[in-house]
Amino acid sequence: MPKILIPTPLRQFADKKDSVDVAGATVGEALAALTTAHPDLKKNLFTDEGKLRSFVNVYVNDEDIRFLEKDKTAVAGGDTISIVPSIAGGVW
C-alpha cells in the first residue's frame, strides 16, 4: 500500500499519525481513502467542490503530480505520497 506523509499541522485530524498507509492504485484513490478514514482532513485538502485547494501540491516520491498524470498518477506499495504547500508572497 502507498504511504501518505501527514504534515504536522494536519496530524490533529489524522489521529495524531505522521503517516497513513492507504489502499488505492492512483493518487486520487489514495487521497480519497485518506479522507474517508479521516474525514476532518477533507476540508484542509479539498474545496467544497471537491478540488484540491490551491495551496496544496502533491508529490509521489520526488515528483510533483502536476507533471505526472495528476490525480490519475499510479501508486503502489513502496511509494510515498507527500502533501506540500504552495507558498509565495510580496510586499503589496
Binding site: 504534515p7 484542509n44 490551491s54 495551496f55 508529490y59 506540500v84 507558498i87 509565495a88 510586499v91
Partner: protein
C-alpha cells in the same frame, strides 16, 4: 503563540539582511505543543520568484519538501515560513494572503535600510481572506 530561539533567530535576521534589498524566505522547524510553537532551526531557502524580488518571493515546493524531510530526520516539525519586507512594515499583504497556507505560522521581518527593524507572526485562514496576528517572542523583542 510562537517563540523563536536565539540561534534560528540570528539565521533568519542574517538571511533577511544579506538578501536586502530583495525579499528572502525560508522554513522554520521546531516543536508544537498545543498552541505553543517553538522554532529551533531556521532553514534559509531560495527566493524562486522570477521578477522583482524586491517586492515578491516564491518558495519552490521541492524546497518545502526538503524542509519537511529535514524536520522528520531531526525529530522536529515544519511549523512556519518566514520572509522579509525590505523597507516596508511587517504586515501581511494581499499577495501574502492570496499565496498563503493556513497550516503554518508566517513570520514577516521588516528590514529597514538593510537592518532588522521589527517582526510579526501571522496565521492566515483557510479561505485566504484574512490573517490573525499571532503572539511572537524573539530575542530582539
Amino acid at each position: 503563540m510562537i517563540t523563536v530561539e536565539t540561534q534560528p533567530w540570528s539565521v533568519m535576521v542574517d538571511h533577511a539582511q544579506a538578501t536586502y534589498p530583495n525579499e528572502c524566505c525560508g522554513a522554520m522547524l521546531g516543536a508544537i505543543d498545543g498552541d505553543v510553537k517553538t522554532v529551533r532551526l531556521a532553514l534559509p531557502l531560495d527566493n524562486a520568484y522570477e521578477g522583482a524580488q524586491r517586492e515578491r518571493y516564491e518558495l519552490r515546493p521541492e524546497d518545502l519538501l526538503f524542509a519537511e524531510r529535514e524536520a522528520r530526520k531531526n525529530g522536529m516539525d515544519l511549523i512556519g515560513i518566514f520572509h522579509s519586507h525590505p523597507d516596508c512594515d511587517a504586515y501581511f499583504s494581499k499577495t501574502d494572503l492570496e499565496n498563503s497556507c493556513p497550516w503554518y505560522s508566517f513570520i514577516v521581518l521588516s528590514i529597514q535600510q538593510g537592518k532588522f527593524h521589527h517582526a510579526n507572526s501571522w496565521l492566515p485562514n483557510m479561505e485566504q481572506t484574512e490573517a490573525a496576528k499571532e503572539e511572537l517572542t524573539h530575542p530582539n523583542a
